[in-house]
């Protein structure tokens, strides 16, 4: 490796050496309790695919350059400097982690491997081995933010088409303004994704509840964060924040997407508006009677997969369950569930990569869980989870149907 590159990587290490990182570098005792908690390690038992194995690669670098004992006695703590070999190990470590933070819940010291892998991904961006798909998507998202005015016209045109679908579903007289955009002082700004389902279904629910809402021009997902580039990640998140502030909305509601919710809810610090997930909003409507859902309309066995970023990392456990228990007559819980639920294996941007074989293998604990429940319909509230569950379904030949929560809600909406 060239000296200038090492210098650049070292400066990234330094800039990311924040308070939690200081704890995590010194605290891990390599007790190995996290081995059993990682779906990737469960699927492929290899050191680099375990939480401690992953973190250890990064920890070696930190010890070498930023800790006293590591600088004085590198042998003692197994510290290692930057080299192509270490960067390859780091690549394997970072890009097998979905950031589900199941290991953090089970770690006696609460070490956040997901956050550490964020730093690893940042190093890989500088080293030039970050997955090019994600870098490309992040660049496109940044470009979209810079020149949104050029794209507004075309986007509004297709949204007009979607309004007709909403009109049909709700038997309304006119499709006008069923999906409002750029509406000032709205109570809710909804942030969707690129796919039509992520806009139509919530639009049906918002209109059924007669909400004063508006649709964002941007997509909730943050490819900058997935790729590991904090600058781009921040820019992409700021697009939404700026739009919400400009429109003076009270609440920003995130699409069924784990990352989108986590970034705005937990990682952007204090914001001048409330951040909720669409799941919470549906629950609110259901409780207050703004929308009516058919009781026990689905008779097939249904189970719910907690998206890690909504459940464990966002605290949304009860809402989706209460919604489903209302619609479904045979609701089944997975074991383990809630904060101990297994990650499906599609998070952290892994779902966008060309690694289906890896994801089928590491989805094994999830598959076992689903099979055990005997459920015919698996519901989840995250785009990544749903597409990964589809991969698991076809990979293992499961006889299940995977559905979005908004989808099953819309199907059973009493209009």
């Amino acid at each position: 490796m060239e000296k200038s590159q090492i210098k650049e990587l070292k400066s990234i290490l330094k800039s990311r050496y924040n308070r939690p990182m200081k704890y995590y570098i010194d605290t891990c005792t390599r007790c190995g309790l996290c081995y059993d908690t990682c779906h990737a390690y469960d699927g492929i038992p290899k050191k680099e695919f375990s939480p401690v194995g992953r973190a250890e690669v990064l920890r070696k670098l930190y010890k070498r350059y930023r800790s006293l004992s590591g600088m004085l006695f590198p042998y003692f703590t197994d510290a290692a400097g930057f080299s192509d070999k270490v960067m390859d190990q780091l690549h394997e470590a970072a890009w097998s982690c979905t950031g589900c933070r199941r290991c953090m819940v089970n770690c006696p010291f609460g070490i956040d491997t997901g956050m550490m892998m964020g730093v690893a991904k940042h190093l890989l961006v500088a080293y030039g081995t970050a997955p090019e798909e994600l870098v490309m998507l992040a660049d496109a998202a940044v470009e979209k933010g810079k020149s949104i005015d050029e794209f507004k016209e075309g986007y509004r045109g297709v949204i007009k088409d979607l309004e007709k679908t909403v009109q049909q579903k709700l038997n309304l007289p006119s499709p006008e303004n069923l999906i409002p955009m750029e509406k000032m002082n709205a109570d809710i700004m909804y942030v969707g994704l690129a796919g039509a389902h992520s806009i139509v279904n919530p639009a049906i629910i918002f209109n059924a509840a007669k909400e004063n809402w508006t649709l964002s021009y941007f997509e909730g997902v943050n490819f900058g964060f997935f790729a590991g580039d904090p600058e781009k990640a921040n820019f992409i998140a700021q697009r939404i924040i700026k739009e919400a502030v400009a429109l003076n909305v009270k609440e920003v509601v995130m699409v069924e997407c784990g990352t989108a919710f986590r970034i705005l809810h937990s990682l952007m610090g204090e914001l001048p508006f409330k951040v909720s997930s669409i799941v919470e909003v549906i629950y609110r409507y259901m409780e207050s009677g703004k929308i009516k859902l058919k009781k026990n309309a689905v008779t097939e066995a249904v189970t719910y997969h907690d998206p890690c970023q909504l459940g464990r990392n966002g605290g949304i456990f009860e809402e989706p369950r209460d919604i489903l228990k209302h619609i479904v007559s045979d609701y089944r819980e997975m074991t383990p569930t809630r904060e101990h639920n297994w990650c499906c294996g599609g998070g952290g941007g892994l779902g966008a990569l060309d690694n289906e074989e890896f994801r089928i293998k590491t989805g094994k604990p999830k598959k076992d869980q689903i099979v055990k429940t005997g459920a015919k319909i698996v519901v989840s509230a995250c785009e990544n989870c749903v597409s990964q569950l589809q991969v698991i379904k076809s990979g293992y030949g499961l006889d299940i149907e995977v559905k979005y929560l908004t989808e099953i809600v819309c199907e059973n909406l009493d209009v």
């Binding site: 050496y17 924040n18 308070r19 939690p20 200081k22 704890y23 995590y24 010194d26 605290t27 891990c28 005792t29 390599r30 190995g32 081995y35 038992p45 050191k47 375990s50 401690v52 194995g53 250890e56 006293l68 004992s69 042998y75 003692f76 703590t77 197994d78 933070r101 953090m104 819940v105 006696p108 010291f109 609460g110 070490i111 956040d112 956050m115 937990s266 990682l267 952007m268 610090g269 459940g311 464990r312 990392n313 966002g314 605290g315 456990f317 809630r338 904060e339």
Partner: protein, 218 residues
């Protein structure tokens, strides 16, 4: 010559060890205090217990017992004697349990998958802790069961330790003239090493565990 070395180990090095121990922890905490905070939240859910209780419930409190046990070396504390017992607590089982634990942790590291993640530090620290406990345990059990007129009672340790705390260090003749003096010196020497290494090794988890667990609940 050995007398001089033992004297140094039992007095000067103890002060040095405690200075490094407290100074090191303080140094680490100051570094943490001046470090950049994480902008967002690293919380996990659900939070069943309020923050301080949750942290205490999760953090290991075994070390508290160890500290309590050693407090009695300085003098008789009424609050510890709420449950009547002979000094030391646990009739020698604390040391034996600790030895079994360190051995378990050590042997576990020879086996996959722990073998792959172990670094020299892990082995060395466990060996160090094991040796310290073996000798400490030996001193204690030897006295308690009066093996071969062992003759090193808790009173002597109290005199020695109490003098250190009062900054008027003396080594009682009962210790310095005992045939087991070398063992006492070795135990103190190893304990000093442990203390000095603690702030700069992974043993720092004793302190940081509380802080990193706090992040999980913030």
């Amino acid at each position: 010559m050995w007398d001089k070395i033992f004297h140094y180990v039992l007095i000067h090095m103890v002060y040095l060890a405690f200075a490094v121990f407290f100074g090191g922890i303080l140094f680490k905490l100051i570094i943490v205090l001046f470090s950049k905070k994480f902008k967002g939240s690293l919380a996990t859910y659900p939070r069943k217990l309020p923050r301080p209780i949750g942290i205490a419930a999760e953090a290991l409190i075994a070390m508290v017992l160890l500290v309590l046990g050693h407090l009695e070396l300085i003098k008789e504390f009424k609050f510890i004697q709420i449950i009547k017992h002979d000094v030391f607590l646990g009739a020698g089982f604390v040391g034996i349990t600790f030895m079994i634990c360190t051995l378990y942790f050590l042997f576990r590291r020879f086996k996959s998958p722990w073998r792959e993640i172990s670094v020299p530090e892990d082995f060395l620290l466990l060996i160090l802790l094991f040796l310290t406990t073996v000798i400490g345990s030996h001193l204690h059990i030897g006295e308690r069961y009066e093996m071969a007129q062992f003759g090193l009672n808790a009173e002597l340790y109290r005199e020695y330790f109490g003098s250190l705390v009062a900054f008027k260090p003396v080594i009682p003749e009962g210790i310095s003239l005992s045939p087991h003096y070398v063992l006492v010196a070795l135990h103190i020497f190893l304990a000093n090493l442990v203390l000095m290494m603690l702030p700069f090794s992974k043993m720092m988890h004793m302190v940081f565990a509380f802080l990193s667990l706090n992040l999980k609940r913030k």
